[in-house]
Amino acid sequence: MTEEKTHHPEPSYLVDTGKYKGLMAWLTSTDHKRIGLMYMYAIMVFFSVGVILGVLMRMELYWPGQQIYGPQAYNGIFTIHGIIMIFTVVIPGLAAVFGNFSLPLMIGAKDVAFPRLNLFSFYLYVLGAAIALASQFMGNGPPDTGWTFYAPYSIQTQTNVVAAVFGAFVLGFSSILTGLNFIVTMHRMRAPGMTFFKMPLFPWSLYATAWIQVLATPIVGITLLMIIAERWLRIGFFDPSLGGDPILYQHLFWIYSHPAVYIMILPAMGVITEIIPTFALRRIFGYKAIAISSLAIASVGYFVWAHHMYTSGMSTTARWVFSLLTFLVAVPSAIKVFNWVTTMYKGSISVKPPFLFALGFIFLFMIGGMTGLSLGALATNIHVHDTAYVVAHFHYIVFGGVGFAFFAAIYYWYPKMYGRMYNIKMANWSFVFLFTGFNLLYFPQFIIGMMGMPRRYFDYLPQFTFGHQLSFWGGILLVIGFVIMLITLFSKKGAKAPDNPWGGRTFEWNIPSPPPVENFDIMPELGVNEGPYDYK
């Protein structure tokens, strides 16, 4: 990338300027942009592993009965699919990749507040992910508890639960440190003149996310430690035969793991909030409402955890309380959707790949959110609890929501990251395949779920065959779309990207693509009358 030096005197962050060259220069770099990219590569690798496991499950379920492997292998595969996808892909996901890459650029900072801590949390992430993966191959076979490690089974099973649990613990620690770093960054390093309510909305969503990371993750940390202690020392907190209470485990687990859903989805919403006004050529509608709704989702979302436990045997009072709270959290989510749609109204829309994926996000997120309400309602929940309906619901949120927002974000910031454009036509084709494949894969699950197909089952009754087969072919389309996307992004160098290919109005579009190491030659400022999106 030396040719850019003629145009910009400062070398880009992709050029090694330090002591080391090549791979070592990346692995020792505390530059937030490089760390963001390293997260992205790691996450894509783990995502690919998760996808392969997913395809293996769909292959097994193509016909009723055993096809290619046995029930114990199936239990191991859905467990590790969950662990990888949740803990190593979607929880760090957008915050670790695009939070790291874009947050300092968008608020006009040179880096995050603690750059070395940032690199440290990346290594913790790699370590945790390695331990979680290793749990597959060490000890008495892969864990078969599901990613939720429900007690008392997780205490009794002979499989390698401890390694997987410890991996999740380390990953949680990494997540905490990233969140901590972002909060301090946003409090201390905003550009002069940029008050909190002049901050772009992606940083706002990261702010809410970071607080959940800091305040919720420790609870699952201690819970996972308790599981390890139960297995090694027989402390018995969750073991009824020693006087413990398994439902207490579910409480503790979901006190984190439900807010974790908001760790995943809030940054996704933030990305969509940046993309839609850019491509609709309009000012975002309801800036403050969107900013505050992020905080509202984070704070109300902290208190809805027990809606995962309606059938666990907890008290009736708790059930209606948590059902009520669950319905409340839909309000700020809907506020965001209304604002996105209103932003597009009468806009001069240019349909580029990031925008397509943003539209896909809204569509899939709506389906996921609405079905979430039917799961949050007590009566309907009892009917579809632990069926494929739940599987379809959370894939619509976690994959349709977070995944599509992730793809949208890659297509949006790719020119800034690499200083190159990609093939727009190919990118559009990847959307067609991903979107069609996604719906074909998961929509049938809603239907067979309502018909009574339980989740996490190796075998099923013949009437569900057609649904499972549709899902399989949807999965194949999805994989094709993913491969097209990888080819589009990484196969060959595209044309040189301009500084501001999309007409974005935040700081990062006003500096060279790719940005120089120090981000800004002249530190940006916001004038008294300038808003968050007046910078162009």
Partner: protein, 197 residues
């Protein structure tokens, strides 16, 4: 690093302290549920705990907290020697706490009161829960005490070397904050475990 932000560093430390508070918070939640399920057994089991050692350790920790706080005053006034001495006293207190704990745990393990022991199986469910909580909570607290001790040792060396001085001492402040957190947790552990007889 040319850029320096002491308030930012302290903010980061506070956020970390919040995570620690919630980490123990999860345990205190388990304690609350278990205690409300087995109130009488908790009372009986607590008789096995030595409230005297517990009180001594409380005093030791409070004293160590005060000396850390004073060492910050000392460094602010430029009195390096006093700061090192006060930090050293803090570390001595930490060591004293550990020695006490060693005897306390050692005695219990000696008579067979530990999770998974043969004696434990014969106890009632509530008592098992109490001792499990006792070992888990004080054990995790002790782990934090050791970590805090290591941090303060590093801080003390840096004070001695002069890298922590009257102009830049945020590391000492942050180390102190962590140490006070260890104290804070003990303030709740002590009455909840030792004083419910």
């Amino acid at each position: 690093m040319e850029h320096r932000d002491d308030i930012g560093a302290k903010l980061g430390m506070w956020l970390f302290i919040f995570t620690e508070i919630l980490l123990f918070g999860g345990l205190f939640l388990v304690y609350a549920i278990m205690r409300s399920s087995y109130p009488d057994e908790f009372h009986q089991a607590a008789h096995h705990l030595n409230a005297f050692i517990g009180t001594i350790n409380t005093v030791v920790l409070l004293l160590s907290s005060a000396t850390v706080a004073m060492s910050i005053t000392a460094i602010q006034k430029g009195n390096k020697k006093l700061a090192v001495i006060l930090l050293f006293i803090t570390l001595l207190c930490a060591a004293a706490f550990m020695v006490n704990k060693y005897f306390e745990w050692g005695h219990k393990i000696h008579i067979g009161l530990y999770p998974g022991s043969d004696l434990m199986v014969t106890l009632s469910h509530g008592q098992v829960m109490f001792f499990s909580l006792y070992y888990f909570m004080t054990g995790l607290h002790m782990f934090h005490l050791v970590v805090g001790g290591i941090i303060l040792t590093i801080v003390m060396i840096k004070v001695k070397k002069g890298t922590i001085n009257a102009d830049r001492y945020v590391l000492l402040e942050n180390g102190g904050l962590y140490w006070h957190l260890v104290d804070l947790i003990w303030i709740f552990l002590f009455p909840l475990l030792y004083l419910i007889t």
